[in-house]
Every structure is written in C-alpha cells, then in structure tokens.
Symmetry: C2
Subunit: 314 residues, 2 copies
C-alpha cells in the first residue's frame, strides 16, 4: 500500500499512521498543523516507509505535486476541524476545513487516477434524533456547521464515487477518545482540574450520553471497513459498547486525578454548547457483520483514555 | 409580506413573482441573469410592489445593503444552477451557485433577523434508488454535483434553522415544466426539431421515466408549504400524478410541432448524461395532507408545457 493520510499528525490520523507504518505500508502523512502536532508522529520519523510533509490539503498545487511524486494507491482523508464548538462561531471554518479539503482530495484523486478513498464521517450528520442510527437512516438534519460540512463532504464523496469510478469507504465516527486528543470532554476536564482542583465546572447538566470508542478500536474499525469493502460507496457506523454520560466522565476524571474532594458543578441545559447533539445511539451491525467488534464498553474506553491522556501529557 | 425572491427572473422564480405580486405582496426580485432573463419579469415592471434588482447573491456586500433597505420578512431562495448536465463538467459551478448562494442568503438572514425561508430543494439529493421517496428517506447518496450541492445547501439550512431560530421550508422539486424554462428535455427537443425536423436525437434509450409537474402547480405547492408550515425545518415533496418517459415526451413534442414524419432516434444507455438519475418516484402525501393536490397527470403537464413553450418562444 502507498497511502496518503491527510491530517496524519492529528489525534486519530497519527494513530492510523502508527498502525499502517507498523504493517509495512508506505505512508505519506500530511498535516497543516492546525490541530495536528509534530510530536504525535515524531517517533515515526525513523520508521521505514514513513514520510511527513507539512502541507495544507487546500493548497491544490502542492497537493498535486505530491500526488505526482508519491503515486498513491489509497487516500485516508482525516484532515478536518474536529472541534464542533469552535466551528459554531464561524460558518466558513468547517466549510473550508471539512468540505473543501475533501473536494481538494477528491479532485487530486480524480486527476491522478487514485481509486480508493477512506473518509472520516461523523454521527453529527444526523442532527438530533432519538432513533438508533443505522447507516441508511433518514432524515439527515444536522444542527452544527461540523455536521453540515461533513454531510456536504459525504455528498461530494458519493458523487465522485459514482461519476469517476472511485471506491469510497465512509466510516461515521462516534465520540473517539484516547491519547493525543486535541480537545473534547476528557481533555477539557483534565485541563480545568489542573487549573482549579477544587471545582470542576461541567458544560450542561451532565446528562448528555453518547457512545465513546477508544482510538485503537476505531483504527481496527477503519482497517476492517477499508479491507472488506468494494464498490462505489460503503458507509459504516462504529461505536463502543453502551454509552457514557458526561456526569460519569466527570467522576472518572476526578477519581483518576486523585482529587476525590473536587466539587463537580453542573451547568444548565441539556447540552454543552449550541450545535452539540446531547444523545445519540448507533446501530453498528453492518460493520460487525464484516468481523469488527468493539473491544471495550464505552465507559471502559473513557477510563483508559483518561489514564493514557494523563500519562501522555495534555 | 415583504419578500425577497432570489433567482426571481428565472424559470420558476418568475412564475413565483407573478403569483406573489398578484396577491399584493411587496416583492424584491433579484437575479444575476446567469440563467434568468429580464423578459421573464418585464411585464411586472409596472405592477405595484414589484422591484427588480440585478444582483448576484454571492455579492455579500450588495445583498447586505438590500436587506438593510428592504426590511424583508421572508426569503424565497430559488437562485441556482438548475442545469444538472452543465454542472457535471465543473465541480465548483454548482458548489458556488447552489450551496454558497444559500450560505450567503442564510448569513444575511441571520444578520438582519429575517426568520422565514423557503428553499428550492430537489429529488437529486437522493441519487439513484428504486424506492418511493418520502421526505425522511435515507440514505442520501447523490450522483451529480447538482444533487451534492443541493444536499449540502439543505444541511446548512438545517443548521441555521436550529442554531439561529430560522423557520425554513424545503420543497424538493421534481422535474418541473412550463413556459420560460431555460433548458430541460422539452426545450432541448424543440430546439433540435427546429434545427433539423427530419430526425430527433434523444439522449439515452428513452426509457428514463420521471414525474413531471407543471410550473403553476409547483407554485401552488410552494405557497401551501410556505403558508402551512411553522417550526425550524419542514421538508416536502411535490410531483405531478404518475410519470412520463422520455420516449413519450419525444412523441408529444413531435406531434405538437406538426412533424409526424420526424424520425425519433434513441441513443444508447439508460440515462441522458453522467449524473442523470433515470427514474425516481415521490411520495407526496405529506404535502397532500396540508391540502395541496397536483392538478394534472405528469404527461398532461408535459403536453401543456410543450404548448406554452411553443407559444411563448424558446
């Protein structure tokens, strides 16, 4: 495999680079270092077949030159603004970083005849619903620019796959946790606790409940989906077993930090910020049928992530 | 009502301006005249309450000034590249004209506190499926840039409605026919026949079968959907009764042109161009429940449109 990993120095991208490099693949990891960090892939520098290039996917000219040089057979497109709350403040940020990056990658693939694409989707495309979400669920009515831009990107992936013979895999990520995360609830709580160990302020009433997946399990899911799929467009959902509430996460973080005396102070309202979907549930049977299984309960994933993030630094 | 109609000099937009002006509304019709034509609204010039402004929706500064001056309470956003075949040649054309125009309108509405939006959606958001399409159908996997950009626009309408308190109505148009059309199968056949009355070349094998709706019936549907809806986001489908094949349309056009000796020559393949969805069926019960009924069979709509387009000039 000669693969491009966009956003490869980011949270999930760097774990994917670890795995693919470990399997002996030739990997070009590109990142504009907006959310990604050099230190996430520093340890891969000396690995055979690993290449890091600081490059913005929106720079079509440089991307084109890299496609010419590297002769990819596969693209894992993970570059994105994954910070939903940040996106709400600016409608164009997510449009650029989530949708137009995807269009840039698709155009380069079309031009250079690269046929296999993995795209990082999200549960946020669905918006707010109490349904158990299988991959064909409708309607899709996002409530954040993150969700809207990722749905828009999916629509373009679908179109390129159909018009230009791409074989695309979309895996809609759940809440993913683990070391190297750049933001998110665990990261947020740990930083707050460091600043003020006496009180932990929680955004919203703490009842937001979602399925969390440990990043190593997500990488398994990415590779199973990628290896077992063919055809124009395959869409999958992955999640940990069960769900975890924000209240539980606060308690896990406080316990792990050795601060049982910390007062957990809940906010008002059912969500952390405008655009946050407070609850969702995934049907993951399609990916399970291909042999993937989540190895951890959602709450176990959170516990492991807290431990690793604390050990790794945040 | 003080309403902005974007794309108001276009095919459907100009019919909407006719109707709204006739009802005594104050209407600002804007159009960049990319597909729209001055002559489509020339007859409204002297009507009370009708204003035409040549303006590109993507010109945010001019749009902002117009919002300041006119103090709209409603926006009917119909500006778009409605020519699917043209869009396939250029991935950015539909992105700009369908999605970014919508974002421009949404931003102006948010900034100026305008709360009611009508958005012109399309069956093309679904891609290719044999299902009878109700409004909540999934998955949505478009196969044209037209469909992708309209789905992207819908995603942003959904997000603005939820984040900023808009009340939005999305009506997903079927194939709409009638006088002032700027392109489409009838228009195409009539022009071909004028050039060469001996042979009518049909794109595809003629078996493409879709529900056609006469434009006056669509305007009824727009107004019923708009009047009877409240809440953040309401989505509807409208279509004529039954379906019509391209073969039937060719026969109707040839008969109407008084050219029964014309040889109709069919092409190869099941569709007219890449990105064309050859068949679709709509469930229209949601809009029927609000009191709207299609008044004509699809094939009757085609016959009436042929007659009116010939009378009106093409």
């Amino acid at each position: 495999m000669r693969a491009l990993v966009t956003g490869g120095a980011g949270f999930i991208g760097s774990h994917l680079c670890d795995r693919l490099t470990g399997q002996g693949a030739e990997i070009w990891c590109i990142d504009n270092l907006y959310l990604g960090r050099r230190r996430n892939v520093e340890h891969l520098k000396t690995s055979n077949g690993f290449h890091f290039v600081e490059l913005d996917v929106l720079d079509a000219k440089k991307l084109d030159a890299l496609f010419t040089d590297a002769k990819f057979d596969t693209v894992f497109h993970l570059a994105a603004n994954s910070d939903i709350a940040a996106g709400v403040a600016d409608p164009v940020l997510d449009l650029r970083l989530n949708q137009l990056t995807t269009l840039s990658v698709l155009e380069a693939m079309r031009k250079h005849g690269v046929q296999r694409l993995f795209f990082a989707g999200t549960s946020a495309v669905f918006g707010e619903t109490s349904a158990v979400l299988h991959e064909d669920f409708g309607p899709l009515q996002p409530i954040s620019f993150y969700g809207a831009s990722k749905l828009a990107a999916e629509a373009y992936v679908s179109t390129y796959a159909n018009l230009f013979g791409l074989s695309a895999v979309v895996l809609r990520f759940p809440n993913v946790v683990g070391e190297r995360a750049t933001h998110g609830v665990i990261y947020d709580f740990l930083r707050k606790l460091e600043k003020n160990p006496a009180v932990l302020d929680v955004l919203g009433d703490g009842n937001q409940t979602k399925p969390y997946l440990y990043v190593a399990d997500l990488i398994d899911a990415i590779l199973v989906a990628w290896e077992k799929s063919s055809g124009a467009l395959s869409v999958y959902h992955a999640a940990g077993i069960g769900n975890t509430s924000v209240r539980e996460i606060a308690e896990i973080v406080v316990a792990a930090a050795g601060r049982p005396d910390t007062a957990i102070r809940f906010g008002a309202g059912d969500r952390g910020w405008p655009g946050d979907v407070p609850n969702f549930r995934y049907d993951i049977s399609r990916l399970q049928a291909l042999g993937w299984q989540p190895r951890r309960h959602s709450t176990e994933a959170v516990g492991l992530a807290v431990k690793r993030i604390r050990a790794n630094g945040f």
